[in-house]
């Protein structure tokens, strides 16, 4: 996989999905060439078809919006999926395996953002998020992975819930792994209010309602009384996940955005500092005798 767009659908909460894709070539030293588009879908981590779904070719400078909901209906898929749109450069289409350096892959990843749009089926309200999906959960790229997610975007009220959508891409489709994920809810003062620990398999999706996490811990009312604002903390020690925060109004209005990984705050982040901080945070918020 050279250039990809990983995404997860939100049918369980009433939204359809659409991808907006551009072929920006030529740019960043890459000459003009077409991109062959292929879609793979995974339901409960299993591929829904043996072969990828062909979606045609995107010429240099061309744009396409791909209606994922229609594709799911055409393939009689009822539930939610994790998907990956593979944008294959025309000069690499004929080879099953291609030798390419990590810096070249990074260059391909950064030539454009992909936009994953969501439309509320009942009200027609549209939302969405831009991001780039580089290679993840792939031992050819990195021998160890971890995630520290800090997202100060919890807004809870009578009308609003904030959810965490998590999925685990894998640029190596042959491997299987389960990634333990720790999720903590902190109040505005930084106090731990509630938490949960679970795990996710590669190419799976999970949607966590913060309202439900708080309610299970009998902390919903006190949290609302303090204003309903807080921080979601997500920690994973042995894998990459994509965490997207979603704040949903009862009318269907939806704020969705990705979180910002640590290098956005500390450019030198990595190595021992990353491992120690992740471990310390798990100890601080998820010590074994206090698990819920």
């Amino acid at each position: 996989m050279i250039k990809t767009c990983w995404f997860a659908t939100l049918r369980d909460i009433g939204y359809s999905t659409e991808l907006s894709i551009t072929n920006p070539l030529p740019c960043q030293g890459i000459p003009a060439q077409s991109l062959k588009l292929q879609l793979r879908l995974f339901e409960d981590a299993s591929p829904v078809a043996e072969n990828p779904i062909p979606l045609g070719t995107l010429a240099p400078g061309a744009r396409i919006n791909i209606d994922i909901e229609q594709i799911l209906n055409n393939h009689s898929i009822k539930g939610d999926v994790v998907g990956v749109l593979n944008e294959i450069p025309s000069n690499m289409c004929s080879e099953a395996l291609t030798q390419i350096s990590l810096s070249e892959i990074r260059n391909w990843t950064s030539i454009s953002d992909e936009f994953v749009g969501y439309r509320h089926q009942a009200s027609g309200i549209k939302s969405g998020v831009h991001y780039q999906s580089g290679p993840m959960n792939d031992v050819r790229i990195a021998s160890s992975n971890s995630i520290i997610m800090q997202s100060p975007k919890i807004v809870i009220s009578d009308r609003l819930d904030t959810c965490l959508l998590v999925f685990a891409p894998s640029s190596d489709l042959t491997i299987e792994k389960r990634i333990p994920i720790h999720i903590a809810v902190l109040d505005q003062r930084g106090n731990l209010v509630a938490r949960t620990t679970t795990e996710i398999g590669l190419r799976e999706r999970r949607l966590f309602s913060i309202k439900e996490i708080l309610a299970r811990a009998n902390k919903l009312d006190p949290f609302l009384q303090q204003g309903g604002f807080g921080t979601m903390v997500g920690l994973a020690e042995n894998g990459n996940i994509v965490p997207l925060s979603i704040t949903i109004d009862s009318s269907g209005g939806m704020a969705i955005d990705h979180t910002l990984p640590p290098p956005y705050y500390v450019p030198w982040w990595g190595g021992e500092a990353r491992k120690v901080a992740t471990h310390d945070l798990i100890q601080r918020f998820f010590s074994i005798d206090e698990h819920q």
Partner: protein
């Protein structure tokens, strides 16, 4: 020789930790509201210590004129969710559109920790989120897109000017194609993040029939302009040039119901 050349660099980084503050837009009308959300990130990168963060906020109106400054301390692992209306009220401003810049200042202990790592790339960035919403149920979050390129914080102003990169102005086109139905509109908010005045041409384009609407703008530093289109069909936005290499505009899509969605471009 290289040791001699590196001496000023080592001296600089042993004394200062440069900070990159980020700039967002705010909407503050009777119809649409904004709220700033930021956490104390220092706690997460050095969790064994109890570290407060001081949020120093400055606001400018759409013409780039300074409205005022405001600050608040964020406790360890804490967060700040503050309505822009509340800050503007304290500053006695009724600005309906403008920019907000947040510089998150760590305790000295954290700076010493960064110095102890002995890295020449030790610096601090403090991206944050703006939530945009209305009374009809619209909700939108936008993460920080571009830093305040008018200065670098945490160092003397003369050094800030010396180490700031020159503005890199590039032609930009959105990778997103927006499908508008009858009664819907798209509005771009173009921000000047750079030190210099920005003269640019913005256009809404159709992927099939080319330019639909274009306009020229002169935007003062930290200023902002709006540029809307109503066109039933597919559109995408271009700006030539944007103020810095990553100064993507914001795009608000308004439905016929008046509800809206807002993302970066």
């Amino acid at each position: 020789m290289s040791r001699i050349l590196n001496f000023p660099k080592r001296f600089f980084f042993s004394r200062y930790v440069p900070r990159f503050a980020y700039t967002h837009i705010f909407l503050n009308s009777a119809k649409r509201h904004s709220m700033l959300h930021v956490q104390n990130p220092f706690s997460f990168f050095w969790p064994s210590e109890s570290l407060e963060a001081r949020a120093e906020i400055s606001l400018n109106d759409a013409n780039g004129k300074m409205i005022g400054k405001w600050q608040k301390t964020i406790p360890p692992f804490g967060m700040l969710a503050i309505s822009i209306q509340e800050i503007l009220s304290e500053l006695r401003s009724t600005a309906e559109l403008g920019t907000i810049t947040l510089d998150l200042v760590p305790p000295k202990k954290y700076e010493k920790y960064l110095h102890s790592l002995n890295r020449s790339d030790a610096r601090i960035a403090s991206p944050f989120w703006m939530r945009f919403f209305d009374d009809l149920g619209s909700q939108a979050y936008v993460h920080s897109i571009e830093a305040d390129r008018t200065r670098i914080y945490g160092v003397p102003r003369i050094i800030s000017r010396f180490i700031s990169k020159k503005d890199s102005r590039v032609t930009w086109s959105s990778d997103r194609t927006i499908r508008l139905d009858v009664g819907e509109s798209a509005t771009a908010y173009i921000v000047n993040h750079s030190r210099q005045k920005l003269c640019c041409t913005a256009s809404w384009n159709s992927p099939t029939s080319g330019e639909i609407k274009a306009a020229n703008f002169i935007i003062s530093r930290k200023g902002i302009v709006e540029f809307s289109v109503e066109y039933p069909g597919e559109v995408f936005l271009s700006v030539d040039p944007v103020s810095t290499s990553n100064a993507k505009p914001y795009v608000l899509v308004q439905l016929a119901s008046q509800q809206f969605a807002l993302t970066h471009g």
